[in-house]
Amino acid sequence: MNAPRPSWNVTTSLPGLSAFVAGEELANLVDDGHDIVVLTADLSTSNRLTDFQARHSARFFNVGIAEQNMMSIGAGMAACGHQAWVSTFAAFASLLCAEHLRTDMAYPNLPVRILAHHAGISMGFYGTSHHAVEDIAVTRAIAGMTVMAPCDAATLRACVRATLDEPGPVYLRLGRGNDPDVHESNVEVQRGRFLRVREGNDVTVIATGIGVQAAVGAAERMAGDGVTVRVLDAVYLKPLDVDAIEIAARETGRILVVEEHNVIGGLGTAVAEAVAMLGVPARIAKLGIEDQYALVAPPSHLYRHYGLTADGVVDRLRGLLSA
């Protein structure tokens, strides 16, 4: 007797992973002759590296639930000349494997790419073990580590291509995979440069990840009040675009930083530090997770709760403008 066919498939029914295009892009690059290998730790359906596996299975290694082993194996392969892509949840990549990122990848300056997906609180009700609101702080403090945060599919493709020839490691901080498109499909990134998303002269929002679309929504609403908001996407968290920060400070005098990260040690800290060292008078506010463990809830509910939405950004902007 035949067993009944399941009507529901956990992988295909996941709420859209359309932003996770790295597997597809990397498979294209292998087709073009690039020596890329991809490793995952039992999460290939969550990060859609199955797209890569389907086309280049000989270059795909699933090491099982052993993230540290994956990091060191990837480093060993990179030491033999491959560009090695390792992938796991940002919480495990940056915290469980922080030493591997430093000692096995950055210190020997190896071409490893760390695809750290589901960063911030995007794992929602999975809870604190799966949240990563410390990873910007950890990875920026590692000498030789480039840190990027593509906020949508097109930017992820651009980041994959932009870093092809980088000799050292790159930490790519990704969201939850269903992140809406913010940039044009032909967006290009330039090392150490923010992306200018929207022009404005009254106040600047420097945002990263999920914060970028929130900032764009806020800027649209503020335009109705006659306030022009400049929006910068901090796609490079390291090296930091100090020039863009300086110009924003000079021209708008007020900067709000929006990030799905602890307000300690993240992008807000980096921007405040840059402004302070530039000596440009500017008022800075930080919108992020206030040095606490986030509640559990579906991600969209958490974003509303912590103000990482257009409404939340508008509230903070109004406060900053009246300060």
Partner: protein, 288 residues
Amino acid sequence: MSNPTLVDLPRGRSRSIAELKRRADWIRLQTIELTEIAGSGHYASTFSCAEILAMLYYHALRLKPSDPSWQDRDRFVLGKGHVAIGVYPCLADLGMLPQEWLRRYTRLGSPLGDHPDMTKVPGIDFSSGSIGHNLSVGAGMALSARLRGLDYRVFALLGDGELNEGQVWEAAMAAAHYRLGNLVAIVDANGTSLDGPVSEVMGVEPIVDKWRAFGWKVDEFDGHDISALCRWADRLPPIDSSTPSVLIARTTKGKGVSFMEADPGWHLGYLGPKDRERAVAEIEGRLA
């Protein structure tokens, strides 16, 4: 392109066991000399693997000193990175790094630290220092050889205390899973870690059964028996075999200097002038 026949130092090259024995004692003397510059060092852990290092660098590893990053070279990674002090003199002797570097060992700006840095030292295949990482790194190198169709071997030298680290077993599992017959581990089982006997600090026995259960081919013998070490290296399974190999080398911490053998406190230390004289005299007595 790959052409392993154009090699300066082929596998299985040494003829004289006596010469390799002397080489191991030479490594011990060099270790004492370099520690003198640093002011402290890992004498005893290096002495326990002196025969293993002599066997690798002067017998088993296929190398091309004129091109330390030659893609067909056999790789050697240290799990126990603190024995780099015994590796540097070999690399210098083989012409992979300048002899002068040894004289400035650990001094400000020296490429040579207690733990090896692959970006600074030719012939070091991977940096080391954080115990437990490098069997995984070696597995990555062995996977790369499979992917590229290269016939180099990867050797990883681990301590028995290192087997406390969970990642070693993650790597052991993965190597068997990926059928990495081109990966070879050597456990320098000297029975002692920093705080005392491994059996008291955190027991690792039965080591042989553990590796066997993980799917490795296991050999076990006296790690100071240089002829056994050479025979073992000569009879390693072919590169394309599907089973990784491990040697449990039963060794003595501080081997070769009797008062160090008797006192496990010598893991990390400094011989004063008197003890240094005694140690050197004992080793040179054997070389005379």
